[in-house]
Symmetry: C2
Subunit: 154 residues, 2 copies
Amino acid sequence: MTVSPDRPAVAVDDLHAAEEAVREQGLRLTSARRLVLQALFAARGPVSAEEIASGLNGRLTASDLTSVYRNLETLEGVGIVRHFHAGHGPGRYVLEGDREREYLACEVCGRVEAVPPETLDPARKAIASATGYAVRFAHFPIVGRCDDCAVHSG
Amino acid sequence: MTVSPDRPAVAVDDLHAAEEAVREQGLRLTSARRLVLQALFAARGPVSAEEIASGLNGRLTASDLTSVYRNLETLEGVGIVRHFHAGHGPGRYVLEGDREREYLACEVCGRVEAVPPETLDPARKAIASATGYAVRFAHFPIVGRCDDCAVHSG
DNA sequence: ATACTTGCAAATGATTTGCCAGTGT
DNA sequence: ACACTGGCAAATCATTTGCAAGTAT
């Protein structure tokens, strides 16, 4: 598939719930796995695999980048993690518990902001009636110009 | 910038017009450059740098991949070419003359379809009033489930 | 003539794969 | 015990960069 297929999202509210979800899949709860989860909870927002592996730049225990990638993939399989691409550069990973957040990226200033899903429901509705597509602005952000940048240019 | 900045688009209708546009920028019209333009016109849709370099799989003269990348970048600077990402995998390049087309990608079956901009104007309007963003669905497609796939699954 | 370009090799960045040793259950 | 994992090296994919040789203007 070209884009990440839809998986049933599993919203977990804390580290403990996440560990439960992992166990429920018959997966082992290893330290590397736990570290990835900890980082995701500590980050409070989208982070790259690299950032997780570095322990969020030293704030947490560092771990092996390969394992981080493998665990992120596993956790996406479980449904508690998701990733998206905000432009060129590494993918950004988030907990599904940051539920349904969708992203807006400004093509001028580069800012990426998250909005709750309700914000985009009208747009979703408009797209559905125009094209038949049930949209999720999850894997890619919506790209445009933010207020500020629209004002300061053509 | 995280995403490709907005450039004034220059819609060219044929190879000749494209070559004029290149000349007008004081750029040289080399055979490698011309080959890239030819491929873009022959393709009638999004193509990867690799596909262009292969001469659209043998239908045209092949050329060096590095030069293709360099020329695509140059042509994006001129404003007659643009690229977007339909998912993981290589970027896809299109002529701006395929003016303002925007893309819808189905996350289930992987289909990517182009729609004319008017189709998405209502959605654009909805996003603008909800967020203040002036949206262009140009650098990334809109990801969702197409009609067919929505029917055959949850 | 000479600056812009090409083409090839090598580098880079992101991510994946192979493989064998390590460890949860 | 034994299959699931971790860690490290090496491979892969997309794209970029360095540089000497080529060529539009």
